[in-house]
Amino acid sequence: MPKNAKKPQASPDLSVDIGPLKLKNPVLAASGVFGYGLELQGFCPPEALGAVITKGLSLTPWPGNPGPRIVESGFGLINAIGLENVGLDAFLENSLGPLKRAGAVVGANVLGRSPEDYVELTSRLAQSQVDFIELNVSCPNLRHPGGLSFGSDPKLLASITKDCVKAAGDKPIVTKLPPLVTDIVALAKIAEDNGATAVSLINSLPALSIDLDTRRANLAVGPGGLSGPPIKPLALRQVALCARALSIPVIGLGGIMDYRDALEFIVAGATAVQIGTGILVDPGLPIRLIGDVYHWLGENGLADLGQIRGSLKL
């Protein structure tokens, strides 16, 4: 047998750890494309994924933006849903129980208009059956009065993360970082230093689509968040930088459309990945992707993802 021949691996181990959380595989449904967890059961049973993350939840229901709320632009998608959601109570009452009974690992994505909102949401979720809390401090549709997303302001990022970690008790906090900042590593370190169990990145990018004929924006509110294939290269870079600099897990996302995209994030150093727009394009994608990653590891003689994680050669 030639020296470099790969010996097929019989049954690769897909499980990953995000701090104290044991996930059966590294594929998570991202916030905003999986409803409150149960809606896509027929295509993608939530319990088959590493975890599902809810649509961003606020303390009270939010109505969101007027339409049109989405437009395709180039090879990507721009959305300005405006964070419409049913509110924390409705999620806890209607969705969380069935999700947990089905055996799903559930992350609650939370968003607020003030730092206090984040803390209150977190303390309420700390009393619930959710498995972790993802702080959405990075949505391009959500800004604090200063105009930046909460997560781009180092002081606010530090205090929100710290206070939520305290309020969360033993539940892990995942801080979802904004993508367009001068120094992503500095922000990721702030999350780490203030007790986040992991960081996730990237959120959609601030973007604009214009109709030349009418000279109007194609979305009712003007700008929105760009997601899908065009943002993958930026996401990979941000993930690679953070994974090198941090000792907590990095969860990578942005434009993942197949297993090769997902594995590139692992090579860049991600512990796990989330799929957003890819689920809108194909609700069965996460399940297929898990199978494809499993086969790829097997064919390449790899026992688990640890053998390629962060293996990017620079």
């Binding site: 969101g64 339409g67 049109p68 989405i70 395709e72 998608l77 959305n79 419409e84 609700p283």
Partner: protein, 264 residues
């Protein structure tokens, strides 16, 4: 996975796409499907997402769609060769029978504006002579050939048909279809079911209120998922809450919608 069976050019930029779909027939009556005949990352700009289309007619292992060419995805669908695989997710959403289980026993005014003709044939087929369709286009440029309308009559024997173009350049009457509709409502009030541009649907809500008739609207909104998860398609109701066109619609009680704040 479905397969393209035929694409018929109906004229006026309209095409009838027939798909072989395992499991068909389905109850259509306003329900829709997500269609895609291109790769996951899209085939050129603007083809990332599947597209929603009303089910036009349904038969054994077969469904048809009325497709008006307006952009990249509709152009791709309109040029499919027979045998091409087409991803089909459907039927989706709620139909007229969900809103009025007894609908087939009543006589209705059907109103279609432009590509809003899409869902009408399956409703006409269920109603036969109890259907009177008012079908309007802006001009002759988007009207399908009259042969297509004659074919429609095969599916809905004795259904009545009134056609119009706003500028009078095509076959049928000149002006908005709401004009002959209003004449009919005066003489013989009947419930209305409609599909078309938002201003037309909003005007029909006013007419339905004026003549005190029930009104069901098959509404459109830009959709990313069609499955209730992304909230792209959320529209406002008069009670202050929102509904998802893809889940709680597309067929909805047209008198409950906050039409002044619907921008699609």
């Amino acid at each position: 996975m479905a397969k393209a069976k035929a694409v018929d050019n109906l004229g006026g930029g309209n095409h009838l796409l027939t798909l072989e779909v395992p499991g068909a027939p389905f109850s259509a009556l306003g329900r829709f499907a997500r269609l895609r005949a291109w790769p996951a990352r899209g085939l050129g700009p603007g083809t990332l997402l599947d597209r929603p289309f009303s089910i036009h007619l349904t038969g054994p292992r077969e469904l048809s769609f009325f497709i008006r060419q307006v952009g990249p995805a509709t152009s791709l669908l309109a040029s499919l060769s027979p045998g091409t695989p087409v991803r089909f997710i459907g039927p989706l959403g709620r139909g007229l029978d969900d809103l009025d289980p007894n609908f087939a026993a009543k006589s209705w005014y059907l109103v279609a504006g432009g590509a809003g003709l899409g869902p009408m044939p399956s409703i006409m087929a269920a109603l036969g002579p109890r259907a009177k369709l008012f079908y309007g286009e802006r001009s002759h440029k988007t009207q399908p050939d009259t042969g297509y309308l004659a074919d429609l009559e095969l599916y809905a024997p004795k259904a009545e048909l009134v056609t119009a173009t706003e500028d009078g350049s095509g076959y049928g009457q000149k002006g908005l279809v709401t004009v002959p509709l209003t004449e009919c409502l005066k003489v013989q009030p009947r419930p209305i079911v409609a599909c078309g541009p938002t201003p037309m649907l909003a005007a029909l809500a006013r007419l339905a209120n004026q003549y005190s008739v029930p009104y069901f609207a098959c509404v459109e909104a830009r959709m990313a998922c069609g499955l209730g998860v992304c909230l792209s398609c959320s529209l406002p109701k008069l009670d202050g809450t929102n509904f998802r066109v893809c889940r709680e619609g597309p067929m909805v009680d047209g008198l409950a919608i906050d039409w002044d704040n619907v921008h699609t």
